[in-house]
């Protein structure tokens, strides 16, 4: 269990680091897919099988392809830019902010006594139970989420088609 955790963690962190540092945008998305698969492996280790499947279906299947389409629609993929082209202005301010926040998070987690606990029992998770809860106890947030996703879908189409509609 320990060794599996370390292997998957190394894969996940490697994917995340490569996704934000590589120059070629398509390579960035491939590293992001590696990161998503690592997170799915963590969900398997945590006995959340449904979420591992959802992670691969939604993130690897849909979000990564969506980002690839956005890259193809917006620019030519050369990957031959220098470092000044990749990093924005005042990048050192952003990097130091991220480092300070990481330090704060680490200090807080180290100080928390409860956080070092082990699971007291076997976690059970079943897709059938999730489905029952979604239409019973959690039906109002579930419907709100349906409205949100519909609004996001319509909004995305309207935002992306704005110029085309103006031209007519």
């Amino acid at each position: 269990m320990q060794i599996a955790f370390w292997i998957i963690s190394v894969v996940t962190v490697l994917g995340a680091v490569l996704a934000v540092t590589l120059r070629n945008l398509v390579h960035c998305v491939l590293a992001l897919i590696l990161f998503f698969i690592g997170i799915a492996g963590h969900y398997f280790l945590l006995r959340a099988d449904f979420f591992a499947a959802v992670q691969i279906l939604i993130y690897v299947g849909a979000v990564a392809v969506l980002i690839l389409f956005a890259i193809m629609l917006t620019r030519n993929v050369t990957g031959t830019e220098g470092p000044r082209e990749v990093l924005g202005g005042k990048w050192w301010a952003g990097a130091s902010t991220a480092a300070i926040i990481a330090g704060l998070l680490f200090v807080v987690i180290r100080r928390d006594q409860l956080a070092s606990m082990l699971p007291a029992g076997e976690a059970k998770s079943s897709v059938a139970e999730i489905g029952k809860l979604l239409v019973a106890d959690w039906v109002v947030p579930f419907e709100a989420m349906a409205v949100l996703l519909t609004a996001a879908l319509i909004g995305a189409v309207v935002i992306a088609l704005e110029e085309v509609m103006k031209r007519r």
Binding site: M1, F5, S9, T12, V13, A16, V17, A19, V20, L25, C28, F35, I39, H42, Y43, L46, A48, F51, I58, Y59, A62, L66, I67, A70, L73, T74, R75, G88, W91, G94, A95, T97, A99, I101, A102, L105, F106, A115, M117, L118, P119, G121, K124, S125, E129, I130, L133, L134, W138, M145, L148, L149, A152, G155, A156, V157, I159, A160, E162, E163
Partner: protein, 103 residues
């Protein structure tokens, strides 16, 4: 046999910091969205880890994770549509060049 909860919290904090660093330093708006996805996933990993270690037997933690994933999907859809709209207007997706509102 199992790793303590601490390890997952440290991992999620590290991933969140990596995503934050990418979102604040990169120039391309699409990579900024990629970094925001990494931050979202670090947060959802925290939810699942707390569910596994603290509230096994109930499903509340998993429900929160489901809604977080749905919101993340809506966010990435709208974000990429905005990037494409901005590209139509400026012919560029560099966040440094989007400064029409700068005083």
């Amino acid at each position: 046999m199992n790793v303590p909860l601490n390890y997952y919290l440290f991992l999620a904090a590290l991933l969140f910091a990596i995503g934050l660093c990418g979102a604040l330093t990169r120039k391309n708006a699409i990579i900024v969205l990629v970094a925001i996805e990494i931050m979202f996933n670090a947060g959802i990993l925290n939810l699942i880890a707390f569910w596994h270690y603290k509230t096994f037997g109930t499903m509340t933690g998993q429900m929160f994770a489901i809604f977080a994933i749905a919101i993340a999907a809506a966010e990435s859809t709208i974000g990429l549509a905005l990037v494409i709209a901005v590209y139509r207007h400026y012919k560029s997706v560099d966040v440094d060049e989007m400064k029409s509102l700068k005083g």
